[in-house]
Every structure is written in structure tokens, then in C-alpha cells.
């Protein structure tokens, strides 16, 4: 199926939805290890016919087995990957054909927590956390106290001038989260944000995401942590066989009421 062009498209974005996927698929070229937007065999799709919305102010978990395509889906949302087919809208704007300047502007409204942190090793903890604000051209004098306060909140108060290589895995994770939320983004995307931290800190980080969600941010968290998902009670999008399914929360709730112990040993 060839990619759609603006002319033959009847999709109209809804600005009440922060993210909208319509018939989105992502394939790869059999002759190349990389994902490609064009020139692929439909059998080589890793994601197929994705249709879902993330309304403004919503909170969702994205789950699914390893290799299901959670990271690829997130990459399409933060415009690091173009879909092979279908249409994506972000903040009410169609983004399939967004130019580089538009991409930069859209990304300023998104906070991303990467599984591999992606910290800049030559910058201090403080500078790493403040990076999105600096990129936006804000005055360092104005955001200095806010950044310090946020880093204190995630437990890095004593490490403001430390270099990332001296941090533990958990500290790096917390720093990555601080960087993602420092500019109060409209949309927060997190790929396994609690994967490297202990349960108590995981809950604390989740509280931060929930608090930001209460303040109006739309949150999508990709995770394997079933305990965290069940503890939060938030809606779940599940990726299975390249397609997205909304998990039946009632069944989950009933399971919780029956006193089921969540996976991973969390209370």
C-alpha cells in the first residue's frame, strides 16, 4: 500500500486529541535492517492498522511483549520515525509531512524519557536537566531555581554538579525523567521509566507523572511493569501481533479486588 499524500487524504485531525493514529502501519524493507516508510512488503510490517486517540489530559500505559513495537510506536509519536502507511496527528496537526522546523517546534511540547536515558556525558546533572529549557532559549537565571527544585524532588539534590558517568542506573533514570518534565510538556512519553529504579522511587516517579497529568499533561508510558500498571489503575493500550488493543480494565480491577498479588512482587 503506497503512503498517503496530503491530496488523497480525508483525515481531519481533532484538536481535542493530543495524539491520533488512523490506519497507521510501520514496515521495514526486507533488504535493509532499517525501518522504511516506503518500498516494503506488507508482510514485513511490525505495526499494523493502528487506530487510537490520546485525548488531552489522558493517562495511558502502553504495554506488550518485548519486540512488540512499543518503542517504534513512541518513536512515531515523537517524530523520530515516519509511518509507512496511515496518518498521525499531534496536537491537532497532521505530522506525516511535517518539515524539520515544525518537528522541532512540536518536540518542544513533548517530554521523552528514554529507556537508555540518552544523557549527555559531558554535561553536569544540572545542565542535562536544563537542556530543554536552554534549547527553548530561556534565560538560565530564570530557570536555575526551578531546575534545582525538580532535581531535589527526584533525589538528585546532592548531585547537581556531578557528571552522568558517576551516577548509578537509578540516578540516571531519575535525571532522564527530570529532563523530560522540566519544561512542563503537553505530552509526556516514557519508555520503561521505572525499569532501573527501586519500587519506592518508581512510585515516587509515577506520582510525578500523575501530578503532571493532573496539571494537564497527556501521559503515555510504555512499560512491562504489570505491578505499576495495576497499582495505578490507568487505562492500558496493549500491543499484540502488531496491533493495538485496549485492555479490559474491569477484569483487571476484579482481579485486584480478589487480592491478586501484582507481578514483580510489588504490594
Amino acid at each position: 500500500m503506497p503512503p498517503q499524500s496530503p491530496e488523497d487524504d480525508i483525515f481531519t485531525p481533532d484538536d481535542r486529541q493530543v495524539v491520533t493514529f488512523r490506519g497507521v502501519g510501520l514496515g521495514y524493507d526486507a533488504h535493509s535492517p532499517h525501518l522504511h516508510a516506503t518500498g516494503h512488503d506488507p508482510e514485513n510490517f511490525i505495526l499494523r492498522d493502528l487506530n487510537f486517540d490520546l485525548p488531552a489530559g489522558s493517562f495511558h500505559f502502553l504495554t506488550g511483549p518485548s519486540g512488540a513495537g512499543k518503542t517504534s510506536l513512541l518513536r512515531m509519536i515523537f517524530l523520530a520515525q515516519r509511518p509507512s502507511v496511515g496518518e498521525i496527528s499531534l496536537f491537532g496537526e497532521r505530522i506525516n509531512y511535517a518539515d524539520r522546523a515544525q518537528v522541532a517546534q512540536l518536540r518542544r511540547r513533548i517530554g521523552i524519557v528514554f529507556q537508555d536515558f540518552r544523557l549527555l556525558d559531558h554535561l553536569t546533572v544540572f545542565d542535562n536537566a536544563a537542556l530543554p529549557l536552554f534549547v527553548r532559549g530561556e534565560d538560565p537565571k530564570r530557570f536555575e531555581s526551578d531546575v534545582s527544585e525538580l532535581l531535589t524532588w527526584v533525589g538528585l539534590k546532592s548531585r547537581l554538579q556531578a557528571m552522568p558517568e558517576t551516577l548509578s542506573g537509578g540516578e540516571k533514570q531519575r535525571l532522564a525523567i527530570a529532563r523530560a518534565v522540566v519544561n512542563r510538556p503537553t505530552l509526556i512519553l516514557a519508555d520503561e521509566p521505572t525499569g532501573n529504579i527501586d519500587y519506592a522511587m518508581g512510585l515516587r516517579i509515577m506520582r510525578l507523572f500523575i501530578e503532571l497529568n493532573r496539571l494537564g499533561a497527556t501521559v503515555l508510558i510504555a512499560t512491562h511493569d504489570e505491578g505499576l500498571i495495576r497499582a495505578s489503575g490507568m487505562p492500558v493500550l496493549e500491543l499484540k501481533d502488531g496491533r493495538i488493543h485496549r485492555r479490559d480494565l474491569t477484569a483487571d480491577l476484579e482481579e485486584r479486588l480478589r487480592g491478586h498479588q501484582p507481578e514483580g512482587g510489588h504490594p
Binding site: L35, R75, F78, A80, Q81, R82, R100, A101, A104, Q105, R107, R108, R109, I110, I112, R118, L119, L120, H122, L123, F126, D127, A130, L131, P132, F134, V135, R136, P140, K141, E144, S148, L160, Q161, R179
Partner: protein, 297 residues
């Protein structure tokens, strides 16, 4: 207390060995460009000096008429020419002096039989020199048979030689400038590839291509400025040594450097900064725009 925020410099890592090599190459190029500029200025000055000397002197050959001897005719011509406006000094060349001048080329054997021309050397006012036509008119008015050599053949050769030296120097300068641009372009490409992970993070934080390009532009401009100062400084040292040591006096006769020539070295580092900044920015924007660093960037 948090240290002063200075991400303008810090967003890209501190220089590595590759950039030290680049410093060296840019410094050498600036050194060569500075020398080319100095040689251009000095050769221009030398050519102008020689041309001025030649323009300020004409030689008049007088042919005696009637019973007048050659020496008498030369003396009379000298007297006439001394009264022409724009003439500073006139001297009739004695026959013996003329023979002295010819002897090294022709030898004594034929010199006794050779008719020696009767010459008058005329030094003109360098500011308002008399025209050859005016000199000729003054001599004709007094029935003198004479011809004037204003050395225009030599003048043309000198001016042509000076023009060629100037063109060669400018060509060398331009070649060096383009070589510097090519090197900075290559280094920018290498820098972008080596720091693709940093650029990806900046890009995912919402940095525009211009924002990223400014980082590289600033980095390479700073580097070119330092290297340019070192290169031009080295050229200045060479010139000072040439100007102040006795050994190089003969060299200074051919290329008369002036202390003011040091001023021409000032634009060299500035030009290096401009070339590096422009090239780094252009290459960065081109690479980012073409998506050569991967889809995420």
C-alpha cells in the same frame, strides 16, 4: 551554588585530538596566507618604487649639427632642459663617462672606433614631472636634433611583472581560503558524525537545525580564530626577524617590507573566522536537512 550556566560553549564536548590537528592545519594555512599577503604588498611597493624611479628620469640623446661638437651640443641641451618646468636636475654625460658605462659590454678593442652617443640625463620632479613632449618642444625650439628615451619599455615590463606577482599572490590567497573552507567542511562533517548522539538528544529536546548549526559555527569559528592568530602571529615574527636582522638586507631590497605591513595581518584571522563559521553552518544545515544523521535527528 550552581556554576554560571555557559552552554554556548559546553553543548559540544571539549576539543579532542582531531580538533588539535585541525588547529594545526588552519594555523599553517593562515601562516601561508599571511606570507602571501605580505609578499603581495611588498612586491607591489617594490614595483611602485622602481616605476617611480624610472618615471622620474629620462635620457636625451643629442646629435650635433653644423660645427658644434657633441660635448658642446650636450651642454647646450642640458642648459635648455634645465629651464623646462617639471625638471629637477640635468646633467650632460661626459664622453669618458659614457665609455666607462659601455666598456664592460663591448670591451676596449672596438670602443676607440665606436661613435659614443652624446647623452643628457634629466631628473624630473616626481610630483609634477615634465612630459617628454614638453622637453622635445623646448629642444626643437632651439634647433636641437635630439631624441628622448623615457624608459617606457622598462616601465611596462616592471608594471607587468608587478601585476603578475599581485595576481599570483591573490590566487595563492584564494586557494588557501578555499582549502581552509574545504578542511573546515570536512571537519564539520566528521564532527557531526562523531557527535550524532548529542545532536539526536538536542534534536529530541526540540533544538532546531539552526540552533545546532550555531553550536558548530561557534565551535569552528572559535577554533579558526585561535589558529588564525597563531598562524598570522608566526608570519609577523618572520617579518620582524627579516626586518631587524642584517643578514636579510639584500632580501629587503627586493621585497621592501614596512612596519605598516603588519596591519595587513589583522584581517587574516578575521577572515579565517568568517570562512570557518560560514562553512560550518552551511555544512551542518545541509547534513541535518538531508537527514544524513539518521531518522531520529
Amino acid at each position: 551554588m550552581i556554576r554560571a550556566f555557559n552552554m554556548r560553549n559546553d553543548l559540544l564536548p571539549k576539543q579532542d585530538a582531531r580538533e588539535i590537528s585541525l588547529h594545526y592545519v588552519i594555523a599553517v594555512l593562515c601562516f601561508l596566507a599571511s606570507l602571501a599577503a605580505l609578499v603581495a604588498v611588498a612586491s607591489d611597493r617594490a614595483a611602485s618604487g622602481w616605476a617611480r624611479e624610472i618615471r622620474a628620469e629620462v635620457t636625451v640623446q643629442v646629435r650635433p649639427t653644423g660645427l658644434e661638437s657633441g660635448s658642446m651640443a650636450a651642454a647646450r641641451a642640458a642648459e635648455i632642459l634645465a629651464g623646462v618646468k617639471g625638471v629637477e636636475e640635468v646633467a650632460a654625460v661626459e664622453p669618458e663617462k659614457a665609455k666607462e658605462l659601455i666598456r664592460p659590454w663591448l670591451g676596449d678593442a672596438i670602443l676607440t672606433d665606436l661613435p659614443i652617443p652624446n647623452l643628457v640625463t634629466v631628473r624630473l620632479d616626481p610630483d609634477k614631472p615634465a612630459k617628454p613632449a614638453a622637453l622635445m618642444a623646448a629642444l626643437s625650439a632651439r634647433d636641437m636634433d635630439a631624441s628622448i628615451d623615457d624608459h617606457s619599455i622598462w616601465l611596462k615590463d616592471i608594471e607587468q611583472a608587478a601585476l603578475i606577482i599581485r595576481l599570483i599572490s591573490i590566487s595563492i590567497f584564494l586557494l588557501i581560503a578555499t582549502a581552509a573552507a574545504a578542511i573546515v567542511g570536512f571537519a564539520t562533517r566528521a564532527g557531526l558524525t562523531a557527535r550524532a548522539n548529542i545532536i539526536e538528544v538536542l534534536s529530541l529536546c526540540g533544538a532546531s537545525d539552526w540552533f545546532i548549526a550555531r553550536r558548530f559555527q561557534f565551535r569552528f569559528a572559535q577554533m579558526a580564530g585561535v589558529a588564525g592568530l597563531i598562524g598570522s602571529g608566526a608570519a609577523a615574527v618572520i617579518m620582524i626577524i627579516l626586518k631587524t636582522t642584517a643578514l636579510s638586507q639584500s632580501f629587503l631590497l627586493a621585497l621592501p617590507f614596512s612596519w605598516y605591513d603588519l596591519l595587513i595581518l589583522i584581517p587574516c584571522p578575521v577572515l579565517a573566522v568568517v570562512i570557518a563559521a560560514f562553512t560550518a553552518r552551511t555544512v551542518t544545515l545541509k547534513i541535518l536537512g538531508a537527514g544524513l544523521l539518521g531518522e531520529g535527528v
